[in-house]
Symmetry: C2
Subunit: 347 residues, 2 copies
Amino acid sequence: MNTSRKATIDDVARMAGVSIKTVSRVTNREPNVRESTREKVEAAIAKLNYRPNISARSLASLRSHFIVLVYDDPSPYENPSGGYILRLQQGALRACGTANYELLIHPGRARKRDLAAELQSLIERARPEGMILAAPLSNMPSIVDAIASTGTPLVQLSPGKDSANRYSVSTNDREISAEMTRYLASLGHQRIAFIAGHRSHKAVGNRLLGYQDGLRDSGLNFSERLVFAGDNSLASGEAGADKLLNRKRRPTAIFAANDDMAAGVIRVAARMGIEVPGQLSVAGCDDISVASHIFPSLTTIRQPLAAMAERAALVLIEESGASSPLRGSEIFPASLKIRESTGPAPE
Amino acid sequence: MNTSRKATIDDVARMAGVSIKTVSRVTNREPNVRESTREKVEAAIAKLNYRPNISARSLASLRSHFIVLVYDDPSPYENPSGGYILRLQQGALRACGTANYELLIHPGRARKRDLAAELQSLIERARPEGMILAAPLSNMPSIVDAIASTGTPLVQLSPGKDSANRYSVSTNDREISAEMTRYLASLGHQRIAFIAGHRSHKAVGNRLLGYQDGLRDSGLNFSERLVFAGDNSLASGEAGADKLLNRKRRPTAIFAANDDMAAGVIRVAARMGIEVPGQLSVAGCDDISVASHIFPSLTTIRQPLAAMAERAALVLIEESGASSPLRGSEIFPASLKIRESTGPAPE
DNA sequence: GTCAATGGTGACAGCGCTGTCATCTTGGCG
DNA sequence: CGCCAAGATGACAGCGCTGTCACCATTGAC
C-alpha cells in the first residue's frame, strides 16, 4: 500500500486529538481511559494502520515482548526427527500469537562448553521476558543456573523438583510408561524388553521406572537382561534389537524409550524376517512423525508437546512483570497411541 | 554472577576514557578508530561484559539486526515430518550466529486469507532487515507482493523467474529428478511410475518435468498412466501406490516427488507383500528423517537445504543497507542418496 | 456548598544507542 | 616550518515509546 513513512504514536495522537500518552494507554489496554476517548484513538489507529514499534517499546518499558525457546540443536547423527521440536515451537507460537509476543528460537548445542555464556549473552543483548528450556537442556544445572542468575523467568519443559525455585511443565512419563507396559502385558506378553534412553534425559529415565512399575503391576518380574541401554538414536535402537532378538529366549515385545530407537527395532525385525506384530510387538514413545510413516506404524506414547509449550509460554507472558520468581509445576498427561506395531503375544 | 544492572555504553565509555560514540564505533567495527583506542575500549567491554542492547540499537539505527524466516505452518494432517523446516532453520541460524543477528521464525498458514496482512503487520512492528520465504509460500504472489511492497528485502527459497526483481535460492530440481530417473532406468527398470506432488509447489512441479526428461534420456516412453497426482501427503502416496500396484502390468519402480509419499508407497508394498527393492524399487525426494528410519531405508534426493537457507540469510545480512533492491538467483545442486529401497529391476 | 477521593489526561524525561556534524590531531609535503 | 587534507574523536539530537508525576474534572459524602 503505502511505501511512505510508517505511522508513529505522534501521528495517531495528533489525528485523535489526544496526547501520545493516551494513545499508549489504549494500545496497552491500560485502565482509566474514557470509552469515547478510546474509540477516537482506535479509529485513528485503524485509519493510519498504526503498529507500535517493538524496539521503541522494549527500550522504554524494559519489556521486550518476546520470549525465547531454547533447545538442544539436534546434531544430524543424533536425532534428526524434528517432530519434537517443531511441536514445541508450534505450541509456543500459538501462545505468542494470541498475546502479540514474538518467539525467538535458539538452538544451543548442549555439547558446547559455553552454551551457558552464550545464553547469558543473548539475554543481555535482547532482554527476553522469559525463556522456555526444552529437555535435555532443562536437566542441565549449568544451563539452568546460568539463566536463573540473570533473573530471567524460566520455564523448564521437564520434570521439576518441587523444591526448586522454578516453574516446570512436564508429562507423566512414569505413569504412562507403566500403562504402556501393562497394555503389552494385557496382550499376553510375558517377556517385555525395554530399550532405555540416554542417561542425561531425565524424562527418559522416568520411563524406565514406569516400565518397572508396569511389570510389577502386571505380576511380571523385572530382569536386567531384558533392558538395553540405548542413547536415543536410531542406531542404538538397532543395536538393542540385535542383542535382544538374538537371545535364545527372545522377548515377544520391545518397548523403547523413544520412537527413534523403536524405529530401529522395527528395521532390525524386518531385516531378520521377524513379523511385527505377529511375532514381536514394538512400542515407542514420543509420537514423532516417523512413528506413523513406517510400516507397521508404531504404537507409541503421545505427549501433548504443543500444549505443554503453549502453557509454558503463557506462564511466562502472564507472569511477566511479576516480581516474585516463577515457581510451580504442571503435569500434562500423555496418552497411548495404539497403532499397528503391537498385537497379541504369539503362542 | 552479577544480578546488578547491565553495563551500558556509558559505563564502557567512562571506563575506557572515551566518548560513547567511540565505543559505538568499536562495537560496530567502523573505520577510523586508532588501534590503541580500540584496544582500550575492547578491554573495557570485556571487563564489563558489555553487550549492546538490541532494542536501543534498532531504534536508533533503523536496523533491527534480525531477519525472519517464514514458512508454511505444517498442519498436522499434511506433513508432520519437520526435517525440511528444521534444516532451513539450522542453516539460517548458522548465518545469523556468525553475523550476530537473530532469527525470528514465523510459521504462517498459507490457507489463511490474511497471511499477507499478518506479515505486513509483523514487518511494521518489528522492522526485520529481511525475510526468507520458504516454499510453497515463496510461490504465492500475494505473499511475495505483500512483502515486496513494504520494501523489505526478500529471498525466496524456490525457483525464481529471472525477470523478477527478486533474489532466489533454489536447487536443480528438474536436473536431479532426471538423474534419479536415469539411475532407475540404468538398473533395468522399464516401467517407472511417478507420484507427483501438489500443484502449488513449484519445485515439486519441476520434478515431474525432470522425470520426463530422464525417461527421454533413457529411451523410455512417457505415459500418463504411470503418473499419479498426489498432494505431498503420506496418504496420497499410499493412494498412488494402491492404484499403481494394482494395475495388471505394474511398475517395477516408483519415484515419488517427496519422501512422505515414498514412505506411503513403502507402507503399501509391505502390506501387499511386495518386496522392496526385490520386486519394486522406490525413490523419494527431500531426505527427511523418515527416509533413513524406515525399512528399507529410502533412496532419495538430498537438497542442501541448510546451505540454501544459510546463503539466503547471508545475502540478506550482507545486502542489508544497500539501497538497490535485491535481485539475482543461485542454484544449489542436490545429490542422489542411494539407500536400500532401490535395486535392479526384477527379471 | 465544601472537601476529599477518584478518574481521566498530558507534559516531560528518559530507555541505550546511532547519525550528523563540528572539532581536534596527525602526518605529509612544499 | 607552516599548511592542509585526512584521520580520529566527541557533543548532541533524536529514534518511538513508556513511566512518573502533576494536574484538572468529576463525583459523592458530609
